[in-house]
Structures are given as structure tokens and as C-alpha cells.
Symmetry: C2
Subunit: 143 residues, 2 copies
DNA sequence: TTCTGTGCAAATGATTTGCAGCCAG
DNA sequence: CTGGCTGCAAATCATTTGCACAGAA
């Protein structure tokens, strides 16, 4: 698997777009931070390294990273889009506590396989999926 | 299972809230329309029956219906929250074509069961879940 | 040189909220 | 009566866009 920098660069060339210091920096910070990141949060981190960078550039770059397949997007239910790297971390789903907001990353191979089958049964080929499980964690349940 | 009107009424009483003609009408239209409905769309339908009703009231009532457990909320990825009745229709997940936007409702009992187990393994008790499968439908794939 | 990228501020679109009067309990 | 409700318009919040200038290729 090629590294994200290379993938991004190839994506830019393929679409006649340009590599810039801003895009390079945003990608670097994005890859280093991991956790489901809102544009706003990424913007704050990027600004620490280069205060001249604009909010809009972060939004625009995040969209590019998503189109390039480098960032996956998540909608947890507040009105904010969150992103996280798709390379360097394996796919996972989310188990969310409705009381305390705890957000656990989970994977279940059997479910993944059944999702494929379910899609195939309807003539679909899957490109991705999102699964959000909402409930109460043990602490919140006993408290 | 009690009917939605009763559930709503009990919810209102329990929270010292009041039943009003607006809320009654909004609930009625909501239940009759089914399909994943944005507040905006519901507002338009409600207005046909009572043009004096305000947009904000629809937003406020939809939130009440959600809190009362009568409406489930869905986030498909455009910035709009959609609702649909949780009573009178069985739970389902979504298979979405990324090209043509086709949105098929699906259920897989085996997956449902595995979700419960997965949650239990992490000490959670589930209250609900959302699963969105993204891909290409057969038509879009061959076109 | 030629476009594409950038920062800024203004624009957008969905949803929320303040307020003065209305009305259910 | 009283405190919750309503419509309206203004306010928010996340995100997008127009624009003039800057800077990759």
C-alpha cells in the first residue's frame, strides 16, 4: 500500500491540481492526529503550526482528502462532519454510549461478511459502510 | 403496543407539556407520510392542511416526537436530519447507491443478532443502531 | 505565463432561539 | 390564572463561495 502522501500527490496530478505548502501541512497534521476529527478541530491544530492558514482552506483540503480516498467521513449525529485517515488504521465501526458519549471503535468480521452478502443479494457492490451502535455502557447503566 | 397518539400524550403529561392542535396535526401528518422525512418536507405537507403553522413549530415538535421515542432520526450525509415513525413500521437499515442515490431498506436478522452480541461483549446494552451500506447498484454498475 | 490556490469576508442553508401574545390545563 | 406554546424574525453554526491577489507548474 502506497503512503498517503504519495496517494494524495498522484490524486492531485491526475486531476490537474497543485501541491501547496498548506495542503502538505494539513495532510501531515491530519495523519498525525487520528481520532475522528472535525474540520474545526483540525483547523485549530494546523493553525498552531502556521497561523496564516485559513479556515476555508482546511475545509477545502479535507474534502480533497476525502475524494482522494485518504479520509473517511463520519456523521455521529451532532451537525458536524468528522474525518479520519483510512490508511494506517483498519476499518472499524462505532459503539456509542448515549449517556456519557463514550465512543468505542469495534469490528466484527462476521458482520462485515454478512454486510457484503446482504448487499450482493440486492445486486449491490459495496464501496464502504458505516455502522453506529447506540446504547448504554456498563458504568452509565449501573450509575 | 400502544398507538403513537397515546404514547405522545403520555409523554407530554409525564413532562408537564401540553397537547395542542398544532402538535396533533404534525403527528398525524408525520405518521401518514412514512418515508424518511426532513423537517422541511414535513413542514410543507403540514402547511397544506393548516397554512398558519410555523416552520419552527415543526422543528420543535419533531424533536419532541424523537424524545418520546415515536420518531427515529437518520443522518444520510447531506446536512439534513430525517425522521420516520418507529411504530407501525419495522426497523430497517439502508443500502444506498452512491451514483444514483437509490436508497433501499434492508434487514438482516443475523446481523441484528451479532450487533447485540458485539455490544454485550463490550458491556453495552443497545438502545438502537444505524447501519448505512454504500455501494453501486446493478444498474449504475453496468451503465 | 497561466491557472489553480489562498485568505478573507460575505453568503448559505439547516436549525435554534428571543419575544410578545395565545391558549391548554 | 399560569406556565407552556406559537409564529415571526433574528440569531446560530457548520460549511461554502466570490473575489482579488499570490504562487505552483
Amino acid at each position: 500500500m502506497k503512503d498517503p502522501q504519495t496517494i494524495f500527490h498522484e490524486y492531485l496530478v491526475r486531476n490537474k491540481l497543485k501541491m501547496t505548502p498548506q495542503r502538505r501541512l494539513i495532510l501531515e497534521v491530519f495523519l498525525a492526529s487520528g481520532e475522528h476529527l472535525a474540520s474545526e478541530e483540525l483547523y485549530r491544530q494546523v493553525r498552531d503550526r502556521d497561523p496564516s492558514i485559513g479556515q476555508a482552506t482546511v475545509y477545502r483540503t479535507l474534502k480533497l482528502l476525502h475524494d482522494a480516498g485518504i479520509a473517511g467521513s463520519y456523521h455521529f449525529g451532532d451537525g458536524v462532519v468528522r474525518y479520519e485517515p483510512r490508511y494506517g488504521q483498519q476499518h472499524h465501526d462505532h459503539l456509542i454510549c448515549e449517556r456519557c458519549g463514550k465512543n468505542i471503535e469495534v469490528v466484527d468480521e462476521k458482520i462485515e461478511r454478512l454486510q457484503e452478502e446482504l448487499a450482493k443479494r440486492h445486486g449491490f457492490v459495496l464501496t464502504g459502510h458505516r455502522m453506529y451502535l447506540y446504547g448504554l455502557c456498563s458504568e452509565c447503566r449501573t450509575a
